[in-house]
Amino acid sequence: MSNPPRVAPSPSPVAQASHGERGFWRTFIFSTDHKTIAKQYLSLGIFMAFVGGYLAYVMRWQLAFPDTSIPGFGFVGPETYNAIVTNHGTIMVFFVAMPILLGSFGNFLIPLMIGARDMAFPRLNMLSFWILAVSALIILTTFFIPGGAASAGWTGYAPLSARAEYTGVNWGINLWLLAHALEFASFLMGGVNFLTTAITMRAPGMTFFRLPLVIWQLLTASVIFLLSVGPLIAAAVMLLMDRLLETSFFVPEGGGDPMLWEHLFWFFGHPEVYVILLPGLGAALEVLAVFSRKPIFGYRWIIYSTITTGVLSMIVWAHHMFVSGMDPRLVMPFSISTILISVPIALIIFSMILTLWKGSIRLTTPMLWALGFIVMFILGGLTGIVLGSAPANIQVHGTYFVVAHFHTVLLSVVIFGGFTGLYFWFPKMFGRMMNEPLGKLHFLLTLIFFNLTFFPMHAVGLAGMPRRIANPLQYEFLTAAQPLNVQITISAIGLIIAQLPFLINFAWSIVAGKKAEPNPWEAATLEWTAPSPPPHDNWGETIPTVYRGPYEYSPPGVREDYLPQDRALTARSAQEKR
């Protein structure tokens, strides 16, 4: 406080803060340390994944054996089923995927990989997390209030969501909207923090083209989130006003337009998909380079492709609305932009595959997850072409084909991409190694049950089974697909059980895993130059200076097969390098 003002900001807040002992509350609960906050996001995401997974189990049981008593739940009526469908979607997208991939990875990796001691705004960072926690608490509360939880679908299409009498749910949807507004505010603040940190607090020598790709992708994700979420926050408030004050923004009586909500929702909703995708893609890229011992093939091309994807993601939203009744002349432009997004994404996939070429590939647990991610992501991306093509979309719109597609593509990101990152950065996060055989078992079981669950859903969808129906036996034309529904349900339960090896591994390794070296994977990026786990200010006295790009693996003329970003070579050879 008595310090004279300086021209340049110093890393003092953290350095000062790390001087004295801080109590339990400031260390573990209301911490401003980006690493602790990252773990908080991770814990919240994993906890909510249990809730979402339980809801998935209830749904699947009902679809396979309609109107039977579900073990661990009881009978589920149509109203409850709608509430479960709605909240499964909301929780998995907003309270699992976002906290883990953006919240946790972003918070943990951005300062450590760019060479900063913390986020630019540590208190804002803490606030972001706690607003998200309140938002998650609100969502969970809605299950226990009169009228039940929101049941208008995770997309909340008006007028179903706009008037309580259409669903019979009153405060469930009001609070669901409030939770959304809070969650968006939380990630808005988080995004501002990410961008400010990465733009202003990079270590000496860390130019933009020396940033690891996962940082580029987290930043692109933050930018498209910031650009797209504003309209939906406004829309959520307008919908809340429709419900509470009987305004009519989205109901036709009084001049509103239900399709306006669809546009506003998807204007955010589609970029949101890429907000989740990009960090997962980034995690897989980091891991690929480390365990092929090779530079990422076409580093700059991936950056350009990432930015192109981000731009295109803002102009494809109406592909969710091909049968909504929007002007049919506008459909083809959206169909074309949607299918064109495959070009930059395919380029990134090609460079991932080419990175393997002439590598020295180690099939460690993180590497297996990364390879699994690529394969499942290719599958999910390709089925997206069917949906992106407007005439084909007519047939499969709103069916289980859509469910199959986005589970394959999004879960490849959340499960495979998420576990890639978690197994890879676990030693840095917790200072201990995870058990490799258990990790590989977890991967194998997940890969098998994942495909047994989601692949047959494509067939069910082609057969015409609509999403969000509670009982397929009410339709004669679905009789042939019912055995598949049963098989999917059994596999889905298998997929949930397949997460047990992870939980055991995770809990056991935190407590009793082998102590991790600072750089157990012999990786070249900056986070591995800090101790495992890093102290509050990450590097102690001096922050590293960066001399080269992030993927200098197996460079010629160096004895080891990697060159850390911060290692100074002699002046002459440093000049030669870059």
Binding site: T167, M332, S342, V343, K358, A392, A459, I469, P555
Partner: protein, 231 residues
């Protein structure tokens, strides 16, 4: 083949959509095999061997980047192929609508399809209009125009066998059309979540032969002259 899961097509334009499915299926299956095949074989070929160092290839040089850019260009070409075929199919289904020989109004409401027939005079808003819930009767090989509305929330009229799906949105009226090529009874599920009765909201489309249809019309609109048949 996987596409056999598609229900039987009974509409004039459904073939367009199905052939698009087949084109996309062929292209995406080929890409899946090529990319995943390359990935798996690289993982096998370049597995770790003692004393063997990975090659230092950055992909920065244009000659190396060509390995990215040429396949990406191929993706672009195939995309455009799918887009152009899709554009044609879309135009046939949605834009070049033939004049309808039969007109009906379908209104979604929680949780029924209200189907309004204009009656023998072929005009709506007259005394012989007839509303039947959830039963849509049409003759085979005639272009049927559907004026689609909703009374409350968004519903979606889905006829899997016709390759027809169209949302019904309150406050708006949309026009859909089809021409069935085969007789039979087919289900009409609602494909957009519309409330607690969404599951089980299902109507039936009955496609009659010309004679059957005439008989059905006579049953619905018994007239002393027995000649009033909607055109």
């Amino acid at each position: 083949m996987y596409l056999n899961w598609l229900p039987e097509n009974i509409s004039t334009y459904g073939g367009e959509i199905d052939s698009l499915f087949r084109l996309i299926y062929a292209i995406t299956l080929a890409w899946f095999i090529v990319t995943v095949g390359a990935l798996l074989s690289f993982v096998w070929l370049f597995r770790r061997r003692d004393g063997k160092r990975a090659a230092y290839i950055t992909g920065d040089k244009l000659s190396q980047a060509a390995w990215l850019l040429i396949p990406a260009a191929l993706v672009l070409v195939l995309d455009l192929w799918i887009d152009f075929r899709g554009g044609d199919a879309w135009a046939k289904v949605k834009l070049h609508v033939p004049p309808s020989e039969i007109q009906v109004k379908v209104t979604g409401k929680q949780f029924n399809w209200e189907i309004l027939y204009p009656g023998p005079d072929g005009r709506f808003g007259t005394a012989d209009d007839l509303q039947i819930d959830n039963e849509l009767h049409v003759p085979v090989n005639k272009a049927v125009g559907v004026a689609l509305r909703s009374k409350d929330v968004i519903h979606s009229l889905f006829l899997p066998n016709l390759r027809l799906q169209q949302n019904a949105v309150p406050g708006r009226e949309f026009h859909a059309w089809f021409q069935a090529t085969r007789t039979g009874v087919f289900e009409i599920p609602c494909a957009e979540l519309c409330g607690f009765g969404h599951s089980g909201m299902v109507g039936h489309l009955t496609v009659h032969t010309a004679e059957e249809y005439d008989n059905w019309v006579k049953e619905q609109w018994p007239s002393p002259k027995g000649e009033a048949i909607p055109r």
